[in-house]
């Protein structure tokens, strides 16, 4: 671990101000916020992340709060994954979110890890996590050995020749299908963005992973109120039964009419793409049609459209299609 200075601000403005002056236009910021530390500490031990300054945000007031009213629900960025997963309002109205959280990591990790930190967890790509090896994400311009290397777990969607690292998280996929928004605070003030705007595709600049400006802090996640016909579900397929990242996962939210017609659909997938990933073609194929096994399969066959398989991960194409089909069936009560 590289020496760093440490501070524990007591207010949001202090936190943001401590960060200022430590920004840099490169992906690797010189200062880092510290929340649960479950990802960051590992990266620091492996010298993948080497912040000069750590700003511990765990004392910031109100960031660990869950607020529910008629219009919406707000989950503070410091809410622990385990607390969010078990909150009755989440369980009742945002099932996909609760399920995604419970399918993440292990109980011990979830007890420590925060929602904000979860959204910003870094990829599990083995080349990124071994500071000795080249990686465009860690060391821009050094190359991507995952292409042509050990890439069984890596992405087939949203990749570029510079980076094929998977976005490994589960929670963000669920947020996409409940249309959640992020409240962000920074030196320039506060702003709200849809979750779908948070992550960036690698393109030419895989080291730039999010739309956050240096020093910006996620304060809360806002969920619009759920209405009548919506039902949702998260399905995750992995090599071992628990404590593993997804080979492929799907977050489904369907607005179903009484006769089973899909009035609206939001589908996002994990484990297969470089960012949390919506499937507009699948959604479109579902809308206005009556949900049955046949439709689920047909729509799901579009899930891997545009996929670019690598040497070891071609299996993710059929897997993704089947996971989406099953996720739709289960959500619709067909399986």
């Amino acid at each position: 671990m590289i020496p760093f200075s440490y501070s524990k601000p007591q207010s949001l403005s202090q936190a943001v101000a401590s960060h200022a002056g430590h920004g840099s236009d490169r992906g690797s910021w010189a200062a880092d916020y510290f929340a649960g530390g479950t990802d960051m500490m590992q990266l620091m031990h492996d010298r993948v992340r080497n912040p000069e300054r750590i700003i511990d945000i765990t004392a910031l007031p109100g960031l660990d709060r869950i607020q529910v009213d008629e219009q919406s629900m707000h989950l503070g960025a410091l809410v622990r994954m385990s607390d969010a997963a078990c909150h009755p309002h989440v369980v009742k109205n945002y099932r996909v979110v609760a399920e995604a959280l419970l399918a993440s990591a292990s109980p011990q990790v979830r007890n420590l890890a925060t929602l904000g930190g979860n959204l910003l967890q870094r990829t599990r790509c083995g080349y990124f996590r071994d500071a000795v090896l080249p990686c465009n994400k860690r060391l821009p311009g050094s190359g991507c050995p995952a292409v042509g290397g050990q890439n069984a777990g890596l992405a087939i969607l949203g990749t570029s020749e510079h980076c094929i690292a998977t976005y490994a998280g589960d929670f963000a996929n669920a947020l996409l299908v409940v249309d959640a928004k992020l409240h962000i605070a920074g030196a320039a003030g506060t702003r709200t963005i849809p979750v779908s705007d948070l992550h960036r595709r690698p393109g030419q600049t895989p080291h730039l992973e999010t739309q956050l400006h240096p020093g910006e802090l996620i304060v809360a996640i806002e969920f619009p109120a759920t209405t009548g016909g919506w039902r949702s579900h998260y399905l995750k397929v992995r090599e071992r039964t628990s404590f593993a990242f997804a080979l492929a996962s799907v977050a489904v939210a369907l607005d179903l009419a009484a006769d089973g017609t899909v009035q609206d659909a939001r589908i996002a997938v994990g484990g297969v793409a470089t960012t949390p990933w919506r499937l507009p073609l699948v959604e479109q194929a579902l809308r206005g049609r009556k949900l049955d096994a046949e439709l689920c399969r047909k729509a799901a066959s579009l899930a891997a459209t545009g996929a670019v398989p690598q040497t070891q991960n071609a299996f993710k194409v059929p897997l993704l299609q089947r996971v989406v089909a099953r996720g739709l069936e289960e959500t619709g009560g067909l399986a």
């Binding site: 590289i2 090896l133 397929v237 039964t241 593993a244």
Partner: protein, 723 residues
């Protein structure tokens, strides 16, 4: 021969259980002598070549740094030759000599060590060291069987030679009515024990104390004594507890030398603990093996030819040859057999025994091939095995010391409900899942080593029995306490067993499933000798038999009474072949859409002779099953041949089973005692528990899906792409 027993055979809970779960059990890294300083490794980042320049100035200036050692400033160490190569060393070659020259033999090689006041300071300073290399542009980092060499004469001496032949296997294979000819791959695997390897080293004058994670305290002391050119007695090794090892702590690895060297050069006690990532490079691993199996049978399923050829990886500096082909050549009767064993030197750290070393590997290939042959013949897999049961060890042409294999098939099949298995593959279902049932034979050598122990009686009526063995988890503490209490005729609570100290009576390695059968008899002998002494005292002081031990000692004015005991290897062993046996049955549920495999249950029936403690024995076996689930479905080192590095060198990505993968595991023991091996009647059990599990699971997956996976692990990609 076997008398009535007290606690032997009863399920006594672990005597060290409470200390372990309450944190009172002290592991190597937790010993903190006065003035302890902390070490961090500097490791190579290329696979082959030499260090051209190593820049340590900024590391030396970093806060808290006491010492930076590299090949440039490390003293040349004597590295005296061993009188006899210890059994845990590879068959040939020379262990890595740390900091003795500029050569790089593998990526991740320790090339320096930093000592500082805190761990973080040491790690930071290590990160400041800059190394320039002369890179060997043609490193041996690809597993290419074409470059393999026949196992050497040294391997031959250990019965792991390049070839063995009986009859005309190739001719018989060509002429056989039914044939299987397939290649099976078992990837490189890592022990992944909970406790990382760690050494605390402290010099007092020219005497060295090591608190070190080791399965063999005596050898640890000898090895380090040789490296430093000092008498073995000058090295005191202490290691009361091991948090799992599975073979990884049999050898004394280079980091132990580094810790001792760093302590000597810095004049401080030094702790060196390997990180999880370093455990993939600084200790050994189960080598990747590719095996071709050719089985030929007549129309009745009697084997006519049994051919097994293995290529396994080793390092460029040592020849690690294991017993991959020993068990396959011994399992079944066949007039014609041939084995071929080759090793592929690679720029990697040297492999090392990992639970069931070689045996589990050889069985994977053989037992999947046997399943394939059963399919080819249209025979039930158990029936095929029964028809080829070997009445004697066919390889050594010796009678078995005992062999309960047939009873294992019977007991296991009954317990499992094998009769419910429909013979057709892909014919059983549970909801949307495909259900499959598979089985395999398990077999593991059951040797016994000479060993020694002491037994001491105290005036308070308690006794302590000691032997310099280890307990990496199987329950040596408990089993030996039982054996001692039994032999002394004392209640369990009054007897304590101590181990893990090179000042205790000598014992060999805690490995190879030898401990109970080897140490047990020595403990008994020591206890018997103690009782004899006690008897002498009684007679001398004319004390009645009814007088309790403490009274006897007090009468005699003795504070303690001590006796030594020894057990030699059984001579009969040479006239017999001693193995433990088992039959493993597995049921899997496969999701046909996703290719995910759930292990619904495993039943194993075992012949391990007399069971000292059924609870511990059961725990050993189901532990082996858990590890077998990993081997079959999860474990695989992601090796990048361009860099010679492990890309999943952490346990978030190198997957081993979690509790949720383990549903219903069951082990039963067939009755029987092996009185040839020792008077105790026990045979080795530990490694047997892993043997046969992976092939049983692979065979069950075939039965569920009709997909034959021959390259472990059975991951969803392989099942998905096959259907």
């Amino acid at each position: 021969m076997i008398e009535a027993h007290g606690t032997i055979g009863s399920s006594v809970p672990r005597v060290d259980g409470r200390d372990k779960v309450t944190g009172r059990a002290k592991y190597a890294a937790e010993f903190a002598p006065e003035g302890l300083a902390y070490a961090a490794l500097i490791e190579s980042t290329i696979a082959a070549g030499a260090i051209r320049r190593i820049e340590t100035a900024s590391a030396k200036r970093a806060p808290g740094v006491l010492l930076v050692l590299t090949h440039e400033n490390a003293p040349k160490l004597p590295y005296l030759p061993a009188k006899e190569r210890p059994a845990v060393e590879p068959v040939a070659g020379e262990a890595l000599r740390v900091l003795q020259d500029a050569r790089i033999l593998f990526n991740g090689q320790p090339i320096g060590v930093v000592v500082a006041r805190t761990q973080s300071q040491a790690e930071y300073a290590a990160s400041l060291v800059r190394v320039e290399y002369d890179v060997d542009t043609n490193p041996l980092t690809r597993f290419d069987p074409a470059n393999a060499k026949p196992a050497s004469a040294a391997a031959e001496k250990k019965g792991r030679g390049p070839e063995s032949r009986q009859g005309d296997a190739d001719g018989a294979f060509a002429a056989a009515a039914h044939r299987v000819d397939q290649t099976y791959v078992q990837p490189r695997e890592h022990h992944s024990a909970m406790e990382p390897h760690a050494t605390v080293a402290q010099w007092q004058g020219d005497k060295l104390t090591l608190w070190d994670k080791t399965q063999w305290v005596y050898n640890d002391a000898d090895e380090i004594a040789r490296v430093f050119g000092i008498p073995s007695e000058s090295v005191h090794v202490i290691n009361p507890y091991i948090g799992g090892a599975f073979g990884s702590a049999l050898r004394t690895w280079p980091h132990v030398t580094l810790a001792a060297l760093a302590a000597r050069q810095s004049g401080r006690a030094v702790r060196l603990e390997l990180s999880r990532r370093q455990l993939f490079y600084s200790i050994g691993f189960r080598p990747r093996a590719e095996q071709r199996v050719q089985l030929g049978a007549d129309a009745d399923g009697h084997l006519q030819a049994l051919i097994q050829e293995a290529v396994a990886q080793t390092s460029t500096y040592e020849e690690f040859a294991d017993a991959t082909l020993d068990v396959p050549a011994s399992t079944y009767a066949s007039a014609n057999r041939r084995t071929k064993y080759s090793l592929l030197p690679m720029n990697t750290n040297t492999p090392t025994p990992m639970r069931g070393p070689g045996h589990a590997t050889g069985l994977i290939a053989q037992e999947i091939a046997m399943d394939e042959l059963a399919v080819e013949l249209g025979l039930d897999p158990i029936e095929l095995r029964l028809r080829n049961f070997a009445e004697r060890n066919p390889r050594k042409d010796l009678p078995w010391s005992s062999n309960g294999l047939r009873a294992c098939y019977r007991a296991g099949a009954e317990r499992f409900g094998w009769d419910k298995r429909s013979p057709q593959p892909r014919s059983m279902r549970s909801g949307r899942h495909l259900v499959g049932m598979g089985m395999a034979t398990a077999m593991n050598p059951a040797p016994r080593y000479p060993s020694s122990a002491s037994a001491t009686l105290f005036a308070d009526g308690t006794a302590v029995v000691r032997s310099a063995t280890s307990d990496m988890g199987p329950g040596t503490y408990t089993a030996m306490t039982q054996i001692a209490a039994d032999a002394l005729g004392m209640p369990l609570a009054k007897v304590r067993f101590e181990l893990g100290d090179s000042r205790m009576p000598i014992a060999k390695e805690h490995g190879g499933s030898t401990t109970t059968a080897s140490i047990g008899p020595a403990v008994r002998a020591a206890c018997a000798a103690l009782l004899e002494k006690l008897h002498t005292v009684r007679t001398q002081f004319q004390l009645p038999q009814a007088e309790t031990n403490d009274v006897v000692l007090r009468h005699a004015g003795l504070e303690i009474l001590e006796a030594q005991g020894k057990a030699e290897s059984a001579e009969e062993q040479k006239q017999y072949s001693t193995y433990s046996f088992g039959a493993v049955f597995a049921e899997v549920h496969v999701d046909p859409d996703f290719g995910t495999v759930r292990v619904a249950r495993i039943v194993g029936a075992y012949d391990a002779g007399r069971i000292i403690n059924p609870r511990l024995a059961h725990s050993q076996c189901i532990g082996g099953m858990v590890q077998g689930i990993g081997m079959a479905l999860l474990e695989e080192t992601a090796w990048d041949e361009r860099f010679g590095r492990v890309v999943n060198a952490n346990i978030a990505e190198y997957l081993i089973p979690v509790s949720a993968d383990v549903i219903d595991l069951d082990a039963v023991f067939v009755p029987g005692e092996d009185t040839v091996l020792s008077s105790l009647g026990s045979k080795g059990l530990a490694e047997l528990g892993l043997c046969g599990v992976a092939p049983a699971l692979v065979n069950a997956v075939w039965h569920a899906t009709k997909v034959r996976v021959r390259h472990l692990p059975v991951t969803p990609d392989k099942l998905l792409l096959a259907t």
